[in-house]
Symmetry: C2
Subunit: 127 residues, 2 copies
């Protein structure tokens, strides 16, 4: 089955995170995108998002591995909601499964960009 362009972008983002290729990674985010770094702490815009991922890579001593094990895309017009199961692993840290929630927007050229990246999903409400 042909993959949805957003699924391809999320796979590209995961590879970029794991390889610490921050140029490829930040290209996937809209200029005003919001990334939840941890509950209560957000990065806004490409520069803050880049710094956040650099910090995360360092925190996990460059052993971070992120991948999606399930995904559902709800799309209408130029807006899409992605519900994903995300596995986060790193040396010396317990394996985490997160219920991630992403919002993508399509620009005038038909290219999707991530505008909201909340890998914690509803855990934000309990934080």
């Amino acid at each position: 089955m042909k993959q949805h362009p957003i699924e391809l972008l999320i796979n590209k983002a995961d590879t970029a995170i794991n390889q610490e290729d921050f140029n490829t990674l930040t290209d996937i985010y809209a200029d005003d995108a919001v990334l939840v770094i941890q509950p209560g702490m957000n990065a806004v815009g490409k520069e803050q998002i880049r710094k956040a991922f650099e910090g995360i890579a360092s925190h996990f001593e460059h052993t971070l591995d992120v991948r999606q094990t399930g995904m559902k895309i709800l799309e209408t017009g130029d807006t899409a909601l992605v519900l994903a199961k995300t596995l986060v692993s790193a040396k010396g840290h317990p394996l985490q499964e997160r219920k991630a929630t992403y919002v993508f927007r399509k620009d005038a050229n038909g290219v999707w960009f991530c505008v909201i990246d909340n890998s914690y999903g509803h855990d934000l409400l309990d934080a």
Copy 2:
């Protein structure tokens, strides 16, 4: 604390659902909005959404009561992601707590509309 306009809209939608005021309810949705009726079954556009809510009201024998018990809004530019805990009760049915996920878009006049309404959250992935 001043309530976010989206929080006021969601409260208005809940009251409209409970009172079966489908005109007020469908006004809150964008023209191309998607509503997840149940996992695997979506309504698209105001007319389908109205019919879906009419069917839901009938299914619950006009005793449906929906309310949010917690909410978190992540917003950037004209897009917002809402994570909510939603209580659904009705006579003769067990009380359900859902982890709902909504996406709202702001139009050129600054008015927010619901574009994606998925009260089932990540349960869609297990369906």
